[in-house]
Symmetry: C2
Subunit: 239 residues, 2 copies
């Protein structure tokens, strides 16, 4: 069994040939300076279910996702858990300038990241002023996503929540997978979907089977969902 959290020589990628560079914050670093960036980061992998950073711990690193999906969440001692959001390849997490991490980050799938010391960030942004503009842009985009999520949690019904989720994350999570682009393999469990949408697993399950009975979706094995009637889903997503 492979030990995780270790650099795996096979998978070390140079920044120049990185698959997420185009969409990631590193796109703000000029090509000829990528060496500076590469020297600042460690490439770290995590296996599904592994905790990457823990809410409340001293915030020493920030991360860039290069492969896989990360969830950011908070839990109460009584077990109530809310997932604030997911991070996909090219997205950053644990970057807010606070002394302690504000959320726990956990690998939803096997994940590859670049880890940077936060202390290095100041030096990087002063070396590459574009970087700050890029970080700001990414932060604003996150804010828009948070506002969407706030509306969903505060005012949408279970059906609307699920419809929104299937359209929004189904697509994002599995671009390029499945026939006709409307068959998605959800990477997250029912519990994770529920903890994201402010529901229970039972309710998620019930809504999915009810949508399937109405032939709006199909529910297959291993978290595959077919989006049959996207128009209905869109209408019921409450937009």
């Amino acid at each position: 069994m492979m030990i995780s959290n270790t650099k795996n020589a096979d998978s070390v990628t140079s920044c120049g040939s990185c698959s997420v560079r185009a969409v990631s914050f590193c796109s703000a670093v000029p090509h000829r300076d990528l060496g500076v960036l590469a020297r600042s980061r460690h490439q770290i992998q995590f296996r599904r279910r592994e905790t990457i950073v823990r809410e409340g711990d001293a915030a020493v690193s920030f991360f860039n996702v290069t492969a896989g999906i990360v969830k950011l969440y908070r839990s109460l001692s009584d077990g109530r858990t809310q997932i604030m959001g997911f991070r996909f390849p090219g997205e950053l997490f644990a970057i807010a300038e606070t002394s302690r991490y504000g959320t726990t980050a956990e690998a939803v799938t096997d994940v590859e990241t670049c880890r940077y010391p936060r202390a290095r960030l100041k030096r990087l942004t002063s070396s590459f002023p574009q970087l700050q503009a890029k970080l700001l842009q990414m932060s604003y985009r996150e804010q828009v996503a948070s506002d969407d999520h706030i509306f969903l949690l505060g005012r949408k019904t279970a059906r609307e929540k699920i419809a929104t989720f299937l359209l929004r994350y189904g697509r994002e999570a599995c671009q390029g997978i499945g026939g006709k682009g409307r068959h998605v393999n959800l990477p997250m469990t029912r519990t994770e979907v529920a903890d994201f949408l402010g529901l229970t697993t039972e309710t998620v399950s019930r809504v999915l089977t009810s949508l399937a009975r109405e032939s709006i979706i199909t529910v297959g094995v291993s978290r595959s969902v077919g989006l049959i009637d996207i128009d209905s889903l869109t209408r019921m997503s409450g937009k």
Copy 2:
């Protein structure tokens, strides 16, 4: 009756003597360059209930609150409304780099703002690199607040929501008002509280009277609330 939305000569403030400068984004502009900033902005007032920007409109300006409170919200055609957050003096809104405003902004109290053309922002940030760092810091702080709100909406009960709100916004909204620092005059209506917390006005009212019966708070006239047993409130806020 005064016409709103007009510059009122009496209340024009120079940036140098602005009451919110210390805490606002303009603190990143050196004192000797405040003239540049002042020439970029219009000071605009809004009366309680006035809409400042409308969701979906072309995003031409961003605003800095200098007095009063602004709410940011989205509505569905069926009337469901969710307030994403409030903006207090020194805070920015409508600044995310999108072509259209993502939320409606409305004055909760009489409000004074500085309005800037978005087109000017690029020039300002390139003139004052500190500004970008400040904007990023403010954006991250907002993100933390959004995460708090997401948890509240997704996982807290009505009582926990109200307790959290009273502690968090009661204090913030009325610093310096009232005896012993624990008597707050909520500036927002029950409907606004409800639309912020994902509840109905009736539930807000019921929870408040129930907390009053338990002598945890007192509910007075004109939205004044006395926080009697702050420890109980803190415990029940679900932190």
